[in-house]
């Protein structure tokens, strides 16, 4: 069996998705809490506590409140985190400690289908989290409708992109402790510098150029535009960026997992 033989992906990947969904349903009440409460905490801390100091922010020529500036960023961060962590820690535990993938590989499922099911599941978690958060944030009147609804399909694309990235790390790290490295070098800087809590334009020019390379910058830009109902050409750049990210990282994730597991 060469790698190409197992690259054929049938709809059976949904079985792996179903497995994860079955597990999720058992703890859904707890899993629902973070996306429900997290935006509340942030909006309270930043919206009430910090916005007094910050005042308003210039966005696309108009002044907006600090809370409406950061609320869409919280959505983007959650889209990133849900898929990334699910396909990093979650998938790693299933692969390495629980040997769930080994058991699956003795069935008609192919490895590519298993990985696809995992990544689509990660993206599903992003969609669920984004939807719940959208509801909470909407209650504060911070989302423009109907444009805001587009955040739901966007969460899926972002989920596939960041989930594939997490899965690539799962395919290459020797042990679970080393996940700290991509988190420290990659996730944390993105969380802070992707136009999340202050505009990218506030950074020095060299840093702005770096920030444009980061995927979260584009995702934040997209969620913010859709939340505020402001459209411009940078949205197209953003969506193309995320799709290319999917097209590169998804096959790469399957490749690294293949190298790791097929022996």
């Amino acid at each position: 069996m060469k790698e190409t033989a197992s690259i054929h992906i049938s709809m059976r990947f949904l079985r792996v998705w179903q497995r994860n969904f079955t597990v999720y349903r058992q703890t859904w009440k707890i899993s629902f809490l973070p996306p429900l409460l997290e935006p509340l905490f942030y909006l309270l801390a930043f919206g009430v506590g910090l916005s007094v100091l910050v005042g308003t922010i210039d966005y696309g020529g108009s002044e907006i409140s600090y809370t409406s500036f950061i609320a869409p960023a919280l959505l983007a961060i959650n889209i990133m985190n849900n898929a990334f962590y699910e396909n990093m820690y979650g998938s790693f535990v299933r692969m390495y400690y629980q040997k769930t993938f080994d058991a699956m590989m003795a069935t008609p499922l192919s490895l590519a289908e298993i990985i696809t099911g995992e990544i689509v599941w990660g993206a599903t978690k992003s969609v669920m989290a984004a939807t719940i958060m959208l509801g909470v944030i909407s209650a504060f009147g911070l989302i423009q409708y109907p444009e805001g609804l587009l955040i739901v399909p966007l969460a899926f694309i972002g989920g596939i992109a960041f989930g594939s990235m997490g899965m690539v790390f799962t395919g290459i790290v020797p042990n679970i402790e080393l996940f700290n490295l991509p988190i420290f070098l990659f996730i944390t800087p993105m969380f802070l510098f992707s136009g999340t809590f202050f505009p990218v334009e506030n950074l020095p020019l060299w840093a702005q150029n770096l920030a444009v390379l980061l995927p979260l910058t584009h995702l934040v830009n997209l969620t913010r535009s859709l939340s505020l109902g402001v459209f411009n050409t940078s949205l197209l750049t953003g969506i193309v960026y995320l799709i290319i990210m999917c097209l590169v990282l998804f096959p790469l994730a399957i490749h690294t997992m293949h190298r790791r597991l097929i022996k």
Binding site: M1, K2, A5, R12, R15, V16, Q18, R19, T22, V23, Q26, Q98, K99, T100, D102, A103, M104, M105, A106, T107, P108, L109, S110, I262, K263
Partner: protein
Amino acid sequence: MMKQKHNALNGSGNPVINARNLRKTFGNLIAVDDVSFQVFPGECFGILGPNGAGKTSTIRMTYGFSPMTGGTLEVFNLDITRNARTIKSRIGVCQQENNVDPDLTVQQNLEVFALYFNMPPPEARTQALNLLKFMALDHRKDARATELSGGMMRRLVLARALLNKPDLLILDEPTTGLDPQSRHQVWENLEELQTKGLTILLTTHYMEEASHLCDRLFIMDHGRVLVEGKPLDLIRQHVGRDIIEVVEPSETLRAFMRSWNLKHEDLGHRLIIYVDDGNALYHEISKDHCTGGCIMRMATLEDVFLKLTGRELRE
């Protein structure tokens, strides 16, 4: 101890597994080197060998888990390199680890696993409940899989391997780490499956298990097959019928052995003598040479195994 099975299907028909010149290398390490074997319908075939002999590598190739480095392998007359998915849908596999799904209950473990075979949920449920009954696990169906004892977990893995009503059951060390009670329970389950005509391929390093279950087997070491045959035949061919063990043998006994040219193994503090009829000899030895204690017993597969693979520790 040794059980002769009467299976009309033995040795007849197209082989369920036809492996020719299997080879598996990991970098410079040759794990499996030119291994050929056939398993026929209704047969229980065993792969024996010490740790690191290449048993698991061989068996993993036969269920399409690891790609072969060389050789050809047909299961159900289908080439595994091209029909892995079809083959896998018709076999049940019990891997070495108890990789039950810790996030699910016992019953869910089976129902979710049935999904991987595209089994419709109502059928999956019926099948799951039947198998839980067969494996005496129905009273624990709502427990978390991780709450089960080692023996129960093993039976759950076995039940899982039977979900798709396989035509071939592949077991990698099915009873390693189990207590005697659990081991016998698993053997009983496997014997029942055998009488229903299920073809079984298993690896083990328990000789008792092999003589108990296997119609035919081969012993392998360092990636190669040493001997192949029926358990009893192998014992007769390689060690004879009786074994006499003498503790702290004297020099005169050693000289006696040499002068009569008797098949024996000298372990220093222990002398093992292989004979076809040991009564006369045992009488002789126990009369004159039995200073440190001596016994006569029936030869077992373990004697064959140790004779062929040596007594030094592995790993």
